[in-house]
Symmetry: C2
Subunit: 107 residues, 2 copies
DNA sequence: CAGTTATTTTAATAATTGTTTAATAATTTA
DNA sequence: TAAATTATTAAACAATTATTAAAATAACTG
């Protein structure tokens, strides 16, 4: 994953409503949840939800599928994991699991 | 960790220069790196660096200590891990490690 | 103390972002 | 086909954010 993509993904999550949407979808699993149901649960207007869905979608963090007149949204777990991996890559120069190394790797 | 704090942390990282700063510091480990050295490595003006340090600091993602006339910045690994945990909390309703569950948890 | 190096602050400007309202699109039901 | 439901789009406005240049602060050196 490249820096620009990660910035886009982080920007998408750096907003209260979108973070709440994403977290609900992470809990839901691959089947996802209907747009209207999310809107009701989060007390957000449909138009505003659509705006935020678009942002999350563009960032690759969620996917959607139409089912009748409902649109189901689900978290993209692969994208999430890649983003998290990017942040922790080569943590403490790869020395030790919990980053408990007292000595740094930079001068 | 609360939603507002996580939003602040994600906002802080959702910017190319700050993401680059943070990643360098993650690799460096607890000892960190001097402000000027980071500025040179990333080809960013000192004033601009200070602005971004402030943002990352306010978000709790980095810490700093003075050493002579240098200021060393280091990643706050605890804060980073809390933020990552917040995103994956109750992933797929806690059923299975890799979120490979084909059936969702929401209706 | 004067000079140098390292970093931060301030002020100004340019660009991006979130919310609301109203209108539009797609799908189902009668 | 017409009405109802679900969701998206477009336009407008308010608010926030990033960058630059100049000035200020802090710490060391001779």
């Amino acid at each position: 994953m490249e820096s620009a993509q990660v910035v886009t993904a982080l920007s998408a999550l750096a907003q209260p409503t979108r973070l709440a949407i994403f977290r609900l979808l992470v809990v839901c699993g691959p089947e996802g949840m209907a747009a209207g149901q999310l809107a009701e649960k989060l007390q957000v207007s449909p138009a505003n939800m659509s705006f935020h869905f678009k942002t999350l979608n563009h960032a690759g963090l969620i996917v959607n599928r139409q089912d009748g007149r409902f649109v189901y949204y689900a978290a993209n777990f692969a994208a999430m994991n890649e983003m998290l991996a990017y942040l922790t890559e080569n943590c403490c120069a790869g020395s030790g699991d919990g980053c408990d190394v007292p000595v740094g790797k930079c001068g």
